[in-house]
Amino acid sequence: MALRGIKNIKLEYDCVVIGAGLGGLTCANRLAQSNHSVLLLEHHVQLGGLAAWFQRKHHIFDVALHGFPIGMMKTCRKYWTNEIAKKIVKLKGIRFDNPQFSFTTTYDRKSFTKLMTTEFGIDSSSVEQFFNYTRSMTFVDDTTMTTRELFENFFPGREDVWRLLMEPITYANGSTLEDPAVSYSIVFSNFMSNGVYTFKGGTDLIIKLMEEELIKNGVEIRTRATVEKITHNKDVITGVVVNGQHIAAKAVVSNANLKTTILDLLDDGLVSEEFRTKTEKVRINNSSCQVYIGIKEGEEIEYIGDLIFSSTADRFDALKMLDKNVTSRTFSIYYPWMRPGRERYAIVSSTNARFENWNELSEGQYKLAKNALAEDTLHCLEKYVPDIRSKVDHLEVATPCTFKRYTLHVNGSSFGTKFEGLPVSRDICSKAPGLFHTGSVAIIMSGWLGAANYGVIVANEVDRYLFGISEGQE
């Protein structure tokens, strides 16, 4: 088990990792596998960052486990363990239900090709060209084309098709039609390669297995350990101050929010004014609201799909999806198979949300707004589970303020930063030698797969940096 606080901690490491989100965890594990001494610090009591879960009475709720691409299997096998990779299973039914269309799909290329040609009447060559084009895009490609332009190009005027292609991705990472086509294409193609997957056993099991692996590989993990400062000598990073104690490190990896890392944790003057301004201009992605619905013991829910994209909006509108007046939400349905040994159902409803809509409320207004959201969610759910109200025995709401409290992300951001966060995240090591950032930036480094892989990419850079230092000493 990870220890709380910093009592009896060693005062020097090759690398300190700030934050135990999936990127921080994976980066720490890779560095330990390459024989570096690693200290992993997390302000919360629980590891995982937004890969979070919580227990209420006999219910366990997953916060972010809604589905990821098959690539996660390979990532877990290579950078974690076979045991973790083997827990990954495919979701059977992804359901769309809105005024424009209503059906269930496996959310992969084959199923989408069939839907687009039969339900939407698009000719198969356009569909094929679209899939091939999106699949060929990489993040070194042109980033000026927007997703709207991409859709306009392949499916001019077909807003129903745009909705099919875009709505799930907007839920998955907060992106809009104005975001770069390349970030859309990478995420979309990853899913389309083989559908949507989840972890059998839930977030709690995965994080427990990851924690065991980190400890086995020699990573020192401390929770309730809040980093206050990243320290430096002249231009070079020398460590961190955590819970008031200085810890020396040759390299520091921040898995904290990008803006917090550069604007709050670093001393003024370490990086240029120009770089600070560039950081300040990085736009933060939106946050979320969730409603957690626990089902009474002994009650059952008929299979209604694993993931439901439910909307009453007449057309797709990413801004409307952020509105406090909710018209679109996803339901993640957790059936008993999800946590073997616990025969329970749970439903988590998620909506995209703006921090300012919730942060500005008085205590009384906040409580009322939460109750209204819970009530509205049950009302919407009645369409799929008519007797839901008689089955529920726990109902709880999380808002952008909740996300901020547990993750410390600027404005409770649940999907990191917009695209311009990527060059800032990538460049920090050239501005402050020894400091690296891994975390949810630019949409493509977001989500389970993106976060874990970005941790690996950054671990390679840290390893190279540490190698350079050791070569220099010889």
Binding site: R30, S34, N35, K78, T138, V456, A459, N460, F467, E471
Partner: protein, 83 residues
């Protein structure tokens, strides 16, 4: 190390990264990525393993040198022959 032993070392690393791929009859003149399913993450893993196992650094600007088996061996030979 000789060309043969460098080749064996590379095969061993690739085999650990993509254990399901058949590496027995690779064409050494052709790009590896045309013959086996190696993505850009796998490629990073190869670079990281070379550093860990043999203390060899492949700078990013040289990544193109690791395209085919022969070009990889050509590139690594001066760095590895003294090992």
């Amino acid at each position: 190390m000789t060309r043969e032993s460098i080749k064996a070392a590379i095969i061993e690393i690739i085999n650990e990264i993509v254990p399901d791929e058949d590496l027995s009859d690779l064409d050494h003149q052709k790009p590896l990525r045309d013959q086996i399913d190696l993505d850009s993450m796998d490629f990073l893993d190869i670079v990281m393993e070379l550093r860990k196992k043999y203390r060899i650094e492949v700078p990013e600007e040289d990544y193109d040198e690791l395209s085919t088996m022969n070009s990889t061996i050509d590139y690594l030979l001066p760095k590895m022959e003294s090992l």
